[in-house]
Symmetry: C2
Subunit: 271 residues, 2 copies
């Protein structure tokens, strides 16, 4: 079995060119194989989440980023379908509200972090503050440049205080995005997902690639690694995210709290 975490992790301190990373890499797996593998991973994820929740001491935070149509929603729906909603907190970050803008950009993110025992999933995240903010000139270069350090320090805090942080960049090719946007255009059932804004970001594709590369290079750390997940094939994308998340849960190895129960005494209390 290939070690997907190893295969897709951005080594801290390395430089990467997204153009060199194959968006159709299947890691030597077939769709048929992955069906069974995913099923097994989901069952184990359910069991470990339950223990994490019962333990109540640590948290897991999964960050999902990617170009439009890369499949952030689909990943949550499929890769994490076995999670118990009690103990799971999904937060979608949209354009900040005026109340949020009245604080620093990490304020709303911190507020949305999972509590001990929870699995948190961010659909977009604080990385937008060095992506869309940079490409769309929503802040000066001086402002967004110093944010990589803030982000690393923030994620270090989360890590040190008991939250395991995993970050997935869903790596979609421009051609595959075209196919997916065409589907949205042609299928009335998907029209509600159609957003002309998706076309804007497509026109600035190269700038986004550059911004992503900087974020991946500067913010892939031992304590909060980035993974570049090939996203042209949904089944590989879902499985890779699920598998790497399960690896992290297995390393955390959450334990049911040991509670000493005096059986005789407890029985006597029951009328």
């Amino acid at each position: 079995m290939p070690d997907l975490a190893d295969r897709f992790r951005v080594a801290p301190g390395s430089s990467i060119r997204l153009a060199d990373l194959d968006t159709r890499d299947d890691a030597g797996l077939t769709k048929d194989q992955v069906r069974d593998l995913l099923d097994d991973v989901q069952k184990k994820m359910f069991v470990l989440q339950r223990r994490l929740h019962a333990e109540g001491r640590r948290a897991l935070l999964v960050v999902l980023q990617g170009m439009d149509a890369a499949g952030k929603d689909g990943t949550i729906r499929v890769a994490f379908s076995s999670l118990n909603a009690q103990g799971t907190r999904v937060v979608s970050f949209k354009a900040p509200t005026s109340n949020e803008l009245d604080h620093d950009y990490l304020w709303r993110v911190h507020n949305a972090c999972p509590r001990r025992g929870e699995v948190g999933i961010f659909n977009r995240s604080h990385y937008e503050d060095v992506l869309v903010v940079r490409v769309e000139d929503l802040a000066s270069k001086e402002t967004w440049r110093r944010r990589y350090d803030h982000i690393n320090a923030f994620e270090r805090l989360l890590h040190d205080e008991g939250t395991v942080v995993l970050k997935f960049f869903l790596h979609l090719s421009k051609d595959e995005q075209r196919e997916r946007l065409l589907e949205r255009i042609h299928d009335p059932e998907r029209h509600f997902k159609f957003n002309p804004g998706d076309f804007d970001s497509r026109r600035k594709w190269d700038q986004y690639v550059e911004a992503y590369q900087d974020a991946l290079e500067r913010c892939s750390t031992d304590h909060a690694p980035w993974y570049v997940i090939p996203a042209d094939r949904n089944w590989l994308r879902n499985y890779a995210v699920a598998r790497i998340t399960l690896d992290a849960l297995e390393r955390m190895d959450p334990q049911l709290p040991t509670v000493k129960v005096n059986v005789a005494e407890a029985e006597a209390m029951l009328d």
Copy 2:
């Protein structure tokens, strides 16, 4: 097929005696039948939740109440297992924090309500403010007595502004609770669920029954009905909650937003 919503709904204005309601009522269904029925209900719930989320105009709030060991956690885990975590918000209400106590008792509840497009599930709720608060004398009689009106007005607000409210009382017998607490005592894997506090509330069983009856009678309304769900059999409990929730979603009949897409124009925007 029995109409479970009809069967278990507390008719607004009626008076009820929980002792007269069978905690083992199976509604004429068998465990085997229910396995397939639940599977079908869960699939439909997933589809309708997706539409509710896409529609983004209304919300659904499910309130779960019941004595200790009645199965609130299990209901969330099983009855709602098919829900997409993105679009589901589970909130467990515990003893209020000092910050929460610095506000009125509905403040934290209001804050935890689902947003448009979401399914919210309350594991315990504002009803604790007329249950444990009443039985344990945490507020004066004068204080808790006027809360039924607050609660009805609050739920009316939610209803009027687009949130469908369903409230389930998981009706467990004292004998079955005994069996379940014994299991927790004897199974080391369940020791972490053991809480001596559960025994306290058991010793005040009759007072809790009285407090529940008042809440069910005074706060079962057309806009936010209470359902008394027989809870001695987990499979019937899970199915009944899921089925009645699906009924509500079917009545809501959420629609995908209609977005007018000019296909030719959109295609031309794709390079």
